[in-house]
């Protein structure tokens, strides 16, 4: 098992190393200007040198992403569950959730920023919550309604009540969909938290730092923050996958 894993890692790691090597030689031999493309070694040097600063700003963005993610997932799942029981609520939220997917609602941050004090992180967290909420709501709603008809007939043949059917068939089925949503929404939360910083407010998150660095011609430092943003997104994604694997060993993978 571990041996297999090491082998599976081999090619991607090799590819990454070769890629970085080519990048480095390309920049050095062609004498590319650092404001166009810095050397990987220079980026790494900045990453290392500014580690405390990078860590602090990563923490700001990560906290916003995490709080928004948590609230959005909990809220989306809960409202989906309630809406499944009450048709009126469903018909109210469903069209909204579907249309939200087609609208760049991230611009709402600008409005949220006006509602709260200038140093507040709430607007960004609210934005993440909102975006996560609708994706989770849609997926969980789908999971709650799309149960296998054979399974539903079986449950009725056992004389199961509606609430038993929800508990034993619909909710477990929706759980698989929730994990799929989580995988999608975890990196999305990071992206949203990150992009939200471009709409003003306190300038201590990753997104803000990137703009600041580039603006003051500290290009390699800017790239170091980009690197941190990538790592943060991957960590969120990895944790989502790990939770999914631990909770539903195979089913959800089948569905996707």
């Amino acid at each position: 098992m571990t041996r297999q894993r090491i082998l599976a890692m081999f090619w991607p790691v090799l590819f990454g190393a070769v890629f970085l090597g080519l990048w480095e030689t390309f920049v050095v031999t062609r004498d590319i200007k650092p404001y166009l493309l810095p050397k990987p070694s220079a980026i790494w040097g900045q990453f290392h040198g500014n580690f405390t600063l990078i860590r602090n700003s990563t923490r700001v963005t990560a906290t916003n992403a995490f709080i928004g993610l948590f609230l959005g997932v909990a809220g989306g799942a809960l409202v989906a569950l309630v809406a499944n029981r009450f048709r009126l609520l469903r018909e109210l939220v469903m069209p909204l959730a579907i249309s939200v997917a087609a609208v760049p609602i991230i611009v709402l941050v600008a409005i949220f920023n006006n509602l709260f004090s200038i140093t507040s992180e709430v607007p960004r967290r609210l934005m993440v919550t909102l975006i996560v909420f609708f994706v989770v709501f849609l997926n969980v709603s789908k999971g709650l309604t799309q149960s296998d008809p054979t399974q539903l007939e079986l449950m009725r043949s056992y004389g199961a009540s509606q609430s038993t059917i929800i508990r034993k068939v619909r909710v477990p089925n929706a759980l698989a969909y929730l994990f799929i949503a989580l995988r999608q929404v975890a990196p999305l939360a990071v992206v949203t938290a990150f992009v939200s910083e471009y709409f003003g407010g306190t300038q201590d998150g990753l997104g803000a730092r990137i703009t600041q660095s580039i603006a003051s011609s500290r290009d390699a430092a800017g790239w170091a923050y980009v690197l941190a943003a990538c790592i943060l997104g991957l960590v969120f994604f990895g944790v989502a996958i790990a939770i999914e694997c631990a909770a539903a060993p195979r089913r959800s993978r089948q569905l996707s």
């Binding site: 399974q151 007939e153 079986l154 449950m155 009725r156 043949s157 004389g159 089913r251």
Partner: protein, 277 residues
């Protein structure tokens, strides 16, 4: 056709497993998309008896099974299961059901799948588990109690579905093309297994199939249906005694197969749509 309701015989015998009197089903009655799925049906199934339903696609076999299971209400006529109204029988767990799709729950182990109906009927955990293991022994899957359904072959999954249908010891088993999705070898094996399981449990079975040899091999009686509106065209008694693998080569077996095929032809022009396997 007249002699469709075969009397169960002696006075004082237990109530028939199924007794349908003029049970009829019309979907969307009075609307433009009205479908008369079943003309009034009379059918009596004795305790422990296996009756197959065979007929062209859309003739109402599944509908009849759903009426018996009380998953649908007949638009006319009445249904008694073990002498009780179908709705009562459903709540009492008088029948178990198995479909072409095994319908196992992926998030439950094999054992917990079998325990599901028992859970709903309020059995405690130890008793449930003990019964599940008993049922797994019956379908010869003891080693798979804690596996998940996806780790099992199609035939094994179908055996789990049968074990689950029988877990609360119903006196009646309703099966809708349960072996329809299996390959030929597995299918024959499952037919033999069903015969053995039936001998062990004494349950009556209503078995929907598209395969004439399967119907003949398994049944005490084969009810041949025809379409639009669905009705029972003929009932053929199968007198083959105890079934073994030799039965499949028995001249009498072929005679019954021919008999069923001819009844199907009589029902709708040519014997179209039936499988000769």
């Amino acid at each position: 056709m007249t002699e469709i309701a075969v009397p169960t015989g002696q006075v004082g015998a237990a109530a028939a497993a199924v007794e349908a009197r003029g049970a009829a089903m019309t979907f969307n009655a009075g609307r433009p998309n009205e479908v008369i799925a079943l003309a009034p049906i009379d059918l009596t199934v004795a305790p422990g008896e296996l009756v197959s339903l065979i007929g062209p696609s859309g003739c109402g076999k599944s509908t009849l099974l759903r009426l018996i299971a009380n998953l649908l209400e007949p638009t006319d006529g009445s249904l008694l299961i073990n002498g009780k109204p179908a709705s009562q029988a459903r709540l009492d767990g008088d029948y178990g059901m198995a479909f072409q799709q095994a319908g196992l729950f992926d998030w439950r182990t094999v054992s917990r799948n079998i325990e599901l109906p028992l859970e709903i009927k309020g059995w405690d955990r130890t008793r449930r588990r003990a019964r599940a293991l008993e049922m797994l022994e019956l379908v010869r899957l003891c080693d798979f109690a804690d596996h998940h359904p996806w780790e099992l072959s199609g035939g094994m999954q179908q055996r789990v579905a049968i074990a689950r249908a029988l877990s609360f010891e119903p006196k009646l088993l309703l099966m809708d093309e349960p072996f329809g999705a299996l390959d030929e070898m597995t299918r024959e094996h499952m037919q033999t297994e069903l015969g053995r399981i039936r001998a062990a449990t004494g349950a009556a079975v209503i078995f929907v199939t598209h395969s004439i040899p399967e119907a003949v091999f398994l049944s005490d009686r084969v009810a041949v249906m025809s379409a639009r509106p669905g009705r029972i065209e003929a009932v053929i008694d199968v007198a083959l005694g105890e079934r073994t693998e030799l039965t499949r080569g028995d001249p009498l077996f072929f005679k019954h197969v021919t008999e069923v095929r001819e009844a199907l032809r009589a029902g709708h022009g040519v014997g179209g749509g039936m499988e000769d396997r």
